[in-house]
């Protein structure tokens, strides 16, 4: 029997979390818009467009970097507000949560009344969130209902009405349902979008048409994802009926002899716990779709949160959720978030504001509440993200937090004739790491940068390029400085460079750049020189001075 689910959805949550929902603002991740405020939407900015496109639509748009931790932290008051209604809240992702509606609805006097009260409570906890509420049988139908609702009018699908509610909807809602957790680390099934595309081309444009197919045929043609699509489209929950309760001995508990106050060591410990849990589950061929994370302090304060992800929680996704939960709990709620605004009414829904915890954490427990058979995931054969890529992306995010945005950089091709100008560096956080072709040579949209660059030195190139050129003395055999005339003639063969004897040399290769621009005009000549100790150097002469630019180390 499918459960009644109430879904609370705060549209464009990242903008609200950043506290910019009243301005024309967008939140960017990897140079693409992940969320925008209502005002930004009105000026034509779409989710998924590039930063430049957004700026073209609206030049004075406020740009905010995406920070999933901030989203989660500031979502904490919302979760607490909803917690006042029901004992257990499933947080799907910051911005969306579901609760079981059957029991509480009767207590609050009907589903409509409950939906209204939940929406009010969320609005009080996070002003400006414009939360919408949907109630239906099953998670999928409930999520869609919430996305069709408006803040003043919740959408309630009558019991047993989910299949009829879903049938006339276009199949692209399948991808939308997966997209609701696509931004989390584990991601939704990436091929659901492909499947939707294929279904449309095959003429199955409505969810009802998919539901009418035999699941056997969908399995034969599309594999397990076809079955998932069928299950979603027919309004049955994502959870297969054969799902069973996990044995309690699968719980992973860690007791700390000494209370821990900071998040970092806890997350570190959570990582090893999550790995253990994931290994236990994998050994049983299972995957966890709902995880209960419990933390307790020395003074008996307790944070218990259930995390739900229809596609299954991997170890990395578990750790991320622990960090979200603990961040919000340990440090108190939302720094730099929507809840910064003084809201006197916050206590109304029982969401009393606390300033973090009063003692260290002594217990951390992971309990898989819902599991299902793991039907596996096929990694891409060519292209796509590999496991190594995922890990590197996580490490880049961590490093950026450790040393700052400008200290973690990736190369981009710029073009030029001198070793120092051919490649530039951009902060890794601002580059789209999934689209490296944008950074490669010749991929620049600017034709001038793509080259060719006549006059550039042929391979091999110097491996050591000094960030700042070093001034050196170049003398001829008589000990007088070597000069290069305006016509590119050398006064005498160079004999020593900074005191070392020259064994062979070549040059000058003159470069005259940007003669049309007085400020950026450069005129110089290049030399390659091998010294008696076997080192080769690239020197330039500019403004009558010799500079060491690079060495072939």
């Amino acid at each position: 029997m499918t459960r009644r689910i109430l879904t609370v959805w705060c549209p464009q949550w990242p903008v609200v979390a950043a506290g910019k929902h009243t301005e024309i603002a967008v939140v960017l991740a990897a140079n693409r818009v992940v969320a925008r405020s209502a005002a930004a939407a009105a000026s034509g900015i779409r989710v998924g467009s590039r930063r430049r496109e957004a700026q073209r639509c609206c030049p004075h748009v406020v740009l905010v970097d995406h920070d999933p931790d901030r989203d989660a932290r500031s979502f904490e008051p919302v979760v607490r507000a909803v917690d006042a209604f029901v004992p257990r809240t499933d947080v799907v992702t910051p911005g969306m949560l579901c609760i079981d509606a059957r029991g509480p609805a009767r207590y609050f006097g009907g589903e409509e009344e409950m939906a209204r009260q939940v929406a009010d409570a969320v609005e009080r906890a996070a002003p400006g969130a414009r939360a919408v509420v949907g109630i239906a049988d099953g998670h999928f139908a409930s999520a869609i209902a919430s996305q069709q609702a408006t803040p003043s009018r919740p959408v309630i699908v009558a019991a047993g009405g989910s299949p009829a509610f879903l049938a006339p909807l276009p199949v692209r809602w399948l991808a939308v349902a997966a997209g609701r957790d696509a931004e989390s680390a584990s991601g939704g099934p990436p091929d659901l979008a492909e499947l939707v595309d294929l279904l449309v081309r095959l003429g199955l444009t409505r969810l009802g048409a998919v539901a009418a197919m035999a699941p056997r045929d969908l399995l034969a043609r599309f594999g397990s994802i076809g079955v998932l699509a069928h299950r979603l489209a027919s309004g049955v929950d994502e959870r297969p009926p054969e799902g069973r309760d996990p044995p309690p001995e699968w719980d992973v508990t860690q007791v700390f002899d000494e209370p821990v106050m900071s998040v970092h060591p806890l997350v570190f410990c959570a990582k090893s716990m999550a790995d253990r849990l994931a290994a236990t589950l994998a050994a049983g061929g299972q995957i966890c779709t709902r995880l209960l994370v419990v933390a307790e302090t020395e003074h008996g304060e307790r944070s218990e949160r259930a995390w739900h992800l229809a596609t299954g929680l991997g170890a990395a996704a578990m750790v991320e959720r622990v960090r979200w939960q603990l961040d919000g709990w340990i440090t108190g709620t939302g720094e730099g978030s929507a809840s910064d605004e003084p809201d006197a009414s916050a206590g109304g829904a029982g969401a009393s504001r606390r300033d973090g915890i009063s003692a260290g954490i002594v217990l951390l427990r992971f309990a898989p509440v819902e599991i299902r058979a793991d039907d596996g995931e096929q990694r891409g054969l060519w292209g796509g993200r590999s496991d190594a890529d995922e890990r590197a992306h996580h490490a880049i995010t961590r490093l950026t937090g450790l040393v700052g945005q400008d200290a973690v950089r990736v190369p981009v091709w710029r073009g030029g004739r001198l070793p120092t100008e051919r490649y530039g560096w951009v902060p890794a956080q601002t580059a789209d790491l999934d689209r490296p072709q944008d950074r490669r040579r010749g991929a620049e949209h600017d034709d001038a940068a793509a080259g060719p660059w006549p006059g550039a030195l042929p391979a091999p190139s110097p491996p050591v390029v000094l960030p700042e050129p070093l001034q050196v003395d170049v003398l001829d055999a008589n000990g007088t400085a070597v000069v290069v005339s305006g016509r590119g003639a050398v006064s005498a063969p160079p004999a020593t460079v900074a005191g070392r004897a020259v064994t062979s040399w070549a040059g000058p290769w003159p470069v005259e750049q940007r003669w049309w621009s007085p400020e950026r005009h450069r005129r110089l000549a290049r030399f390659q020189i091998v010294l008696d100790d076997g080192t080769a150097q690239l020197l330039t002469v500019e403004q009558q001075c010799w500079w060491l630019v690079a060495t072939y180390s």
Binding site: Q254, F256, D257, E258, P259, V260, P265, C269, K271, S272, M273, R276, A279, S386, A388, D389, R391, A392, H393, H394, A395, I396, R398, L399, L402, V403, G404, A407, V408, R409, V410, P411, P419, Y423, P436, R439, R440, R441, L457, P458, A459, P460, S461, P462, P463, V464, V465, P467, P493, S504, W505, A506, G507, I529, V530, D533, G534, A550, Y552, S553
Partner: protein
Amino acid sequence: MATPSSLATIADHTRAGVAAVAASSLAGERVLPVDEVLGNLFERPGAVGLVRGQVVHCGGVAPLSLALAVAAGAARAGAWLAVVDIASLGLDAAVEMGVPLERLVAVESGPARNWAEVVGAVADGFELVVTAPPRSVTASMARKVHQRLRARGVVMLMLGDHRSAAPSELADIELCATSPIWDGLGAGNGHLRARRVTISASGRRMPHRRSVDVLLPGPSGRLEAAGGEVIALANEDLAS
């Protein structure tokens, strides 16, 4: 605050988890591929390649070229490469050496105290690290980093800049490029074309020193085997 005993629990955990992961990995996954020109230096019973978790010290006349050449083989096979605290990396040379730039990330650690922390964080996500430990890194700090790298199966290519002496003791393999001969440059004519060097490898688990003659870089900028004809070409060039 976290106290020593809780930190010890955490450390125990990590170690246990890591050991479990390490034990489950297959023998073939314990090595990263290297360019076949260097195969002779990295040959061991059963496999050829960079053993995960090892520290390779690149020294001699061409530390950076050597590190790039060693890293290129693994990076081409899909490994990510982090370059820590090397502001002077010439990317053209890296590309010519065969390092895919889309999997290269440069990190600056800032104050020296941070170096160990940054390399530790790098170890969580990258398979290759090229770095030159700052002089202020103590031997014990370097050992700690080495332990972390070994647990994570990360290969560290340490540049043998004479800036720091202590950490070079950590190296499992010491590569040294000697007797460079540049080819292509005359007295006012030609351009640098190739450099012939002898690379020798020695290490703790190597009974005797091995060496190989290579072109580092070759005419295309890549690492190439030093064949007989190339020597002839070099002689001809020198004669002209």
